[in-house]
């Protein structure tokens, strides 16, 4: 059976955020994630997709399956060409927001993921990568 190992999605409207949730859910189901793990990766994806939309001015998501030894997982890479995050340490704090949200997007997504990487340059954009192992 051949399944695509990687797919790209654009995030430019709030409907796209819903489509991201559904695509990530489907991939998690295909990989045999249990219900709680599906819910965690979908929720993390929703937070990060919304950040890409609101703070990055839109961007893209790449959904990939990853293999490490016998472990399988999902890697999500959110990229935008927005203003970037000047102070990542501050942005990662619970409750910190420059918008009108709760400030749980980045910190919450990190807690819901097995691995979390963030790379941002002011004026160039932001890339957030998360992995959740099955």
């Amino acid at each position: 059976m051949l399944v695509p190992l990687s797919e790209n999605r654009s995030i430019s409207t709030s409907e796209d955020v819903v489509a991201v949730r559904q695509a990530v859910r489907q991939r998690a189901v295909d990989l045999g994630f249990n219900l709680v793990d599906q819910t965690k990766i979908v929720t993390a994806a929703s937070e990060l997709a919304r950040n890409t939309l609101h703070y990055g001015g839109g961007g893209t998501l790449r959904i990939e399956e990853v293999l490490q030894g016998s472990r399988r997982g999902i890697r999500l890479v959110f990229e935008d060409n927005g203003p970037g995050i000047p102070n990542i340490e501050l942005a990662m704090k619970d409750g910190y927001t420059t918008g009108n949200g709760l400030g749980l997007g980045l910190s919450g997504a990190k807690r819901l993921s097995s691995e979390f990487f963030i790379d941002s340059s002011p004026g160039e954009g932001t890339r957030v990568t998360i992995v959740r192992w099955r």
């Binding site: 819903v18 709680v36 819910t39 965690k40 929703s46 949200g101 709760l102 910190s107 919450g108």
Partner: protein, 128 residues
């Protein structure tokens, strides 16, 4: 534009969320509910989320905002039917839904609403 239906049952409003809401739909539900509490003279709002497969910080905040707004408008809000996987994820996300009353299912939610509204009615008349 699509809308989440709000049903009136006596002095209560019942909302069953059966779709994966995008943010604008969630905001319009909040606006519609607030107007409907006033126009229907509602005393209680029951929000059934048993069909929701995910609650993120935006939707969680919406429940908090609806609860706060309804309180100001003299109505109580109870959120019912949260799935266990959703509850586990919400707590790990860092959201405790402080200020939002919850119940396991619609029946218990109705009981809770009755109790809340009755106890409030008693308190209002005996302010001496």
């Amino acid at each position: 534009m699509e809308r989440i239906p709000i049903l009136k049952m006596g002095e209560y409003l019942l909302v069953t969320i059966q779709v994966d809401m995008h943010d604008r739909l969630a905001m319009s539900l909040q606006d519609d509910l607030t107007s409907k509490i006033v126009s229907a003279h509602a005393k209680g709002v029951l929000i059934d989320i048993s069909a929701l497969e995910m609650v993120d910080s935006f939707i969680g905040r919406m429940f908090g905002d609806i609860a706060a707004m309804s309180r100001v408008l003299d109505a109580e809000t109870v959120v019912v039917g949260m799935r266990p996987a959703v509850a586990i994820t919400l707590v790990e996300l860092g959201l405790s839904l402080r200020g939002v009353r919850t119940a396991l299912n619609i029946e218990r939610g109705m009981d809770l609403l009755h109790g809340l509204i009755e106890s409030r009615g008693d308190g209002a008349g005996s302010a001496e």
